[in-house]
Amino acid sequence: MHLLTSAGSPPLAPPHELPASARPARGRVAARPFTLAHSVPPLAWQLAFFLGPLLFLVVLSFWSVRNFRIEPAFEPANWLRMLAQAHVWETYARTFGYASLATVVATVLAFPAAFAIAFRLGANARRVCLFLLVIPFFTSYLVRVYAWQVFLSDQGVINAILGMLGVPPQRLLNTPLATLVGYLTLSLPLVVLIQAMSLTLVDRRLVEAASNLGCGPVRTVFAVIVPAARVGIVVGALFCFIFSFGDFVAPLYLGGGAAPTLPILIVDTTKAGQQWPRAAVLALLMIATLMIVAWAMTAYAYRRRA
């Protein structure tokens, strides 16, 4: 089974796996230390870099700040204060909305490109395209965002072109549109890559079969190819949502901070009176949201057909 395709997926268990009772006892004993040795690094990694910091964040959210000094405590005050503030929920809704919009736009924009790479290009051209999609990651995201300022500002490149066409200058920088441009700059190449890889792995015989059975090209795309590449499409969308939801750079440097998102609010909270525990509450809110979204989307991606 391929992880990025879902068409014709066999059961999740590896092929040729024998029932436990059928395996020789000697082999089981010998395999156990080997299996354990293989599973230790990811487990240690998760403990050190995810569960450990996460637990610390949970503990920190109950600490208090006195005279700019963070002190261990067990008080629910930070949770009660942050969750009771209307502007926190307004910011949350805005961040969720922006990230969702970026996810939909990136997925829709990426698909034609990914489709062309997977189905229309030869092997060599496909390799070149995939390489070109990796190139944006060679440059710092912050630098790319600053470059967008040159394009989006009132006297920028886009307005200059519009001016030549007789269109009056448009306000582009420091708007939600500019924030969206930043989110797409961050995630679109990756979404195209994931979708393209997923589409490349779609079984061509399914497409031929659909054609032989009289299915038109558009219907083949939506009835055969998209379901077959569902995992890749959903995983690409999930990455876009995760990147956008947690991005600090685009809403600040392209959105102008005029419509604050949760990452900006976290930074503001740490700056105001050194309130790291309150910032921890917001961070946990973000992590919980991302975990729920990731779980829901992964479940949908790998859902078996009825």
Binding site: Q85, S153, Q155, G256, G257, P260, K271, G273, Q274
Partner: protein, 374 residues
């Protein structure tokens, strides 16, 4: 004279080489101890430990200043509270935060006779916040004013003479905020007619909030230090609340059409001063640095600091600035005998930026978050 035996000669040479070899590490250590500079740690806003300011002091005292730069007084207090005593030999802070440093016992008491107060303008002899009774804790190095920062091509001087311009519909979406609540709220408090803009009774605090919220529709963005520079330089923002010549001065000197106006409602004054960190093990050297930076030569370097310019409190520093950099003395209005910035202080056209006295800092920052979301 008997010729020496070749073997004994060889032995002498070998002995000399061996001796030199054994002595080399000791000589090298001694040489190193003579040249290795002492390290002096400094907690400061960006720029205060750069070569254009401290190179002369470092060379004179064989010192290397190791800075830890911070952004904002809260950040500074947090860094200090999380570090063991003696981590920072020199602490540079704004006046409102010096009081907090003193209250937290983070700075050493200073001896006034060690510093050139006689050369300072009288207004800076016993500067509020730097003294507790007769005890001195910090020495002022530089100061500046916050007013209406504006693009001279888009906003006229007459328009920039009042904070009301922030709400002018002609500049909708072109008004920016330096993203720190104290100066912006302080400016609107001045606009509301509060002579003490940070000492607000509940009713006045409510009015200030309403006035600020009414301006929100005009605001195009909230910017950090770099964003403020960029948005003023590229003309995206034509008005910026909460800043002064410390930002527009850098841009102006580089040819950008921006300037800061002290409006008719009055400006705010910020200050920067140096203290010696509690438990510093190099207090003599730290004291020598404060003496250097408050001397006329050090003051000129501070006024001309590449990171951001400022006004200086030392009269002899003004004289030297006029002699060495007359254009900058004129631009910053630090010319003795002519209308200058001291007239603004004496005419009470500026008020000290301070922490809120009747509300908590938390209340102000919470309102700022609400304002940004409005």
């Amino acid at each position: 004279m008997t010729p020496s035996h070749p073997a004994s000669n060889r032995r002498r040479v070998l002995r000399a080489i061996a001796g030199a070899g054994l002595a080399a590490p000791m000589l090298a250590t001694r040489a190193l101890s003579q040249t290795a500079p002492t390290e002096l740690t400094m907690l400061a806003w960006h720029g205060h430990a750069e070569k254009d300011v401290v190179a002369e002091f470092e060379a004179r005292h064989n010192v290397r200043i190791r800075p830890k730069y911070y952004v904002g007084g809260d950040n500074m207090l947090a860094l200090i509270s999380q570090s063991p005593p003696g981590t920072y030999d020199l602490i540079q802070a704004d006046a409102e935060y010096v009081q907090q440093l003193v209250a937290a016992g983070q700075v050493e008491q200073l001896q006034p006779r060690d510093y050139p107060f006689d050369d300072f303008f009288p207004e800076f002899h016993r500067f509020p916040g730097h003294w507790v009774g007769d005890k001195l804790y910090s020495v002022m190095v530089r100061f500046g004013f916050l007013g209406v920062a504006y693009n001279t091509l888009a906003v006229s001087e007459a328009q920039a003479r009042s904070y009301k311009v922030y709400a002018d519909p002609r500049f909708a979406g072109r008004v920016g905020h330096f993203d720190w609540h104290l100066p912006s709220i302080g400016q609107v408090s001045l606009l509301e007619g509060n002579k003490l803009p940070f000492d607000l009774a509940p009713e006045r605090w409510k009015h200030v909030q309403q006035r600020l919220l009414a301006m929100r529709r005009n605001v195009g963005g909230f910017f950090d230090y770099g964003g403020t520079f960029a948005s003023l330089r590229n003309g995206q923002m034509v008005l910026m609340a909460g800043i002064g010549d410390w930002i527009t001065g850098v841009l102006e000197k580089n040819g950008a059409p921006v300037r800061t106006m002290l409006p008719e409602e009055g400006g705010l004054q910020w200050t920067e001063s140096f203290s010696i960190g509690k438990g510093s093990r190099r207090q003599d050297l730290a004291r020598a640095f404060i003496q250097y930076i408050t001397s006329p030569g050090g003051q000129v370097r501070s006024a001309m600091m590449q990171a951001y310019p400022a006004l200086i409190p030392n009269r002899k520093g003004w004289d030297l600035l006029v002699a060495q950099h007359p254009q900058e003395a004129r631009r910053q209005r630090m010319e003795p005998g002519k209308p200058n910035v001291m007239d603004d202080i004496r005419g009470k056209r500026v008020t000290l930026r301070a922490l809120p006295t009747r509300q908590s800092l938390e209340d102000w920052s919470d309102f700022w978050s609400r304002y940004k979301n409005a």
